[in-house]
Symmetry: C2
Subunit: 407 residues, 2 copies
């Protein structure tokens, strides 16, 4: 019997009515004779409310305790969904992350899955049960509850799908799938029927909120086809898999954008080995994630170094970087918090020259100034003024003819 | 190092402020160099709210799923309490019922504890941690979560105290301890410094809400001293233990009352073996708990049978009993829902005649009519008109001089 894993996000199970709608979808898959494993997030704002509760009693909550607390959110939604399925006459059972065998390391609040021991899940499937697994949570070797951090429930779903050899991992959310650009910005943006893992990874990393890169990465590693679709509509969604049709390869597939970019430039650094480490190790220790890094060619052994962080991290990053800049003899440290980034993404760019030139020309024609450029094999990202981002997305969407249907 | 188990009820941990107060008490025990194990109930009305949520999606909630759902209430309060203790600079860790080794049978919603495997608790105590255990929950052999039903958290606490060899199990609640009568009814009622297990069992079974009989029974079985005290005051509370001081033995210790009594009488039953079984087996199957049963001496092979149930069960009990009464040739079935009961309790009554006579005389002097009488070795209960209960409690409190200080 074929098996599917379905994952429903917090918006999809926000109240009793929505949980019932989700149950109908699950029942339909079961009626088609699929074995069904469902992964659920916590209802609506539950997680935020639990964090608030923790802050009330302890502003710097212990991470182990916070993880146990937060894990109750997914436990609640998993039991309610099982109850609804019973009510509809279906056999179903809820399992905690621990019961589903999601074994993790002990890095509380951002635990990584070490392995899946799905014995219990398989047993319950063989008994004819729809298995509802509480997402976002796992258990350490010492049997302590952990949570997986951002993108946790998606990751639970893909990990289970990989372990169980599911035909597909369906990620149900509040959007219809992946678009050529954010449809709230570009009304003519088209939904994509399929994407490669690499494309989705770049998209997720460079601004698209549809799925967390971590779960996409896991899907790629174990070759799990991932369908991203809406739990509110019947739209077929976007399939993320390895073999994207040949016809659509040689193209830009989608434009990602991100409005949360701040830039720090350390000016006049005496250039010698170890400078980059001296700057970035303290930032990493302070828990600040650095995105783009650009170092100019050094002139007379003096160089400038620019990097980007999220706006939320800017103040803290400046605090860390200023004394270091002084200690290494840099001239000064400046920052700019009003930046955004726009990226064109497509595996078709890999062996085809000219995409970068077309991108820069299109932006330049509109008078949009490019501050920093970074690239991967299948992505080109320009960091520009935040106020120009919307215009840039629209310009690039037209320049690469993304409104035109593929094939 | 001596060890105490403390249990805090839902009212004691109803909000952040109260959780902080509770933490102060726990810290004081720790400061006195005790090893401390704490058992907590769910915050305030959490359990009721979770039941409501379940009813919204499934009126006849699956019991396994409901247990998992309800267990989250205690998990939440246990983590919050641990966080507060960390905030105060104390080492503390929360454990689920499963982690604390509360192994139960699989009777969901009213599971019985089979054994306690306290390895993890002991390890955490040895690491210097205050161990906060989520009450009311356990785990089956198949690692499924159960809840223990009424009196569950008290039972968790006493079971842990027994297993760990605690010096005392302190049950903190919203009353100061055990009184000679309900102080809301009898302002001059005195708090008792100590009680025997048997007395507390009878009191709990015959109306006093302070503690569930189940936890008292367990305490008696394993000889765990139980202190019942308020989490809101510094009142020393009431100690329930085996060796009650000799001076106070030869007395009535307390008056219990209960306003929730209904009576059913089956009249004119042809008396032959098997009649009682024919009546009470169907009631038990219908889940109706029968309290007092009185059968009159049979005259000419015809007898009457009277029994009491809670008012909530009366309608259902009549439904069950009427066809049975007809089938066994009884004359008729009558009921009365306006009853109450008053009990005098004291181990001193055991070998001392005259208590029953004094009780009946006192009630008769006040013109209170006794409808049914039942007794145990240390208790005499009279079932009377509900409206006379308050008067009866006051009368007996005076008749047995309970307002006079012991010793």
């Amino acid at each position: 019997m074929a098996l599917v894993v379905q994952k429903y996000g917090g918006t999809s199970v926000a109240d009793a009515e929505r949980i019932k709608n989700v149950a109908v979808r699950i029942a339909q898959a079961r009626d088609k004779d699929y074995q069904v494993v469902v992964v659920v997030s916590a209802m609506g704002d539950t997680t935020d409310e639990l964090v608030k509760l923790a802050c009330q009693v302890s502003p710097q909550s212990d991470r182990r305790e916070l993880d146990v607390l937060l894990s109750t959110g997914e436990t609640v939604s998993s039991t309610l969904l099982a109850m609804v399925l019973h009510e509809m006459g279906y056999q179903a059972i809820s399992l905690s992350g621990a019961q589903a065998g999601i074994r993790t390391d002990a890095l509380y609040s951002r635990a990584r899955i070490l392995k899946v021991e799905s014995k219990r899940v398989v047993e319950e499937l063989e008994r004819g049960n729809i298995v509802i697994v509480a997402g976002f949570q796992g258990i350490t070797e010492e049997m302590d509850v952990t949570t997986l951090g951002r993108g946790g429930s998606d990751t639970t779903a893909v990990a289970l799908a990989a372990n169980l050899g599911a035909e597909v991992c369906q990620i149900y959310t509040d959007v219809d799938g992946v678009y050529t650009a954010d449809p709230r910005l570009i009304p003519e943006a088209r939904q994509l029927a399929e994407m490669s893992y690499e494309e989705m990874l770049e998209l997720a990393s460079y601004g698209a909120k549809v799925m967390h890169p971590r779960a996409v990465e896991l899907g790629e590693l174990y070759n799990v086809p991932i369908l991203v679709a809406s739990s509110f509509t019947r739209n077929p969604g976007t399939l993320i898999h390895r073999e994207v049709s040949m016809e659509v390869r040689n193209k830009v597939r989608s434009i990602a954008h991100n409005l949360d970019v701040a830039k720090i430039t350390v000016i006049g650094i005496p250039d010698h080995p170890g400078i980059a480490a001296a700057i970035f190790q303290p930032l990493a220790k302070a828990g600040i994630s650095v995105d783009t890094i650009v170092q100019n060619a050094s002139i007379k052994n003096i160089t400038d170094l620019t990097f980007t962080v999220t706006k939320g991290d800017l103040a803290k990053a400046m605090e860390v970087i200023k004394p270091i800049a002084a200690s290494i003899g840099a001239k000064e440290c400046i920052s700019d918090s009003k930046l955004g980034e726009v990226s064109i993404i497509g595996t078709g760019m890999q062996n085809t020259p000219g995409f970068a030139a077309r991108m820069f020309a299109a932006l330049s024609e509109k008078g949009i100034n490019i501050q920093l450029i970074t690239t991967s094999e299948i992505r080109i990202t320009c960091i520009i003024d935040k106020d120009s981002v919307k215009d840039a997305v629209r310009t690039l969407h037209q320049a690469f003819k993304l409104e035109v249907t593929e094939s």
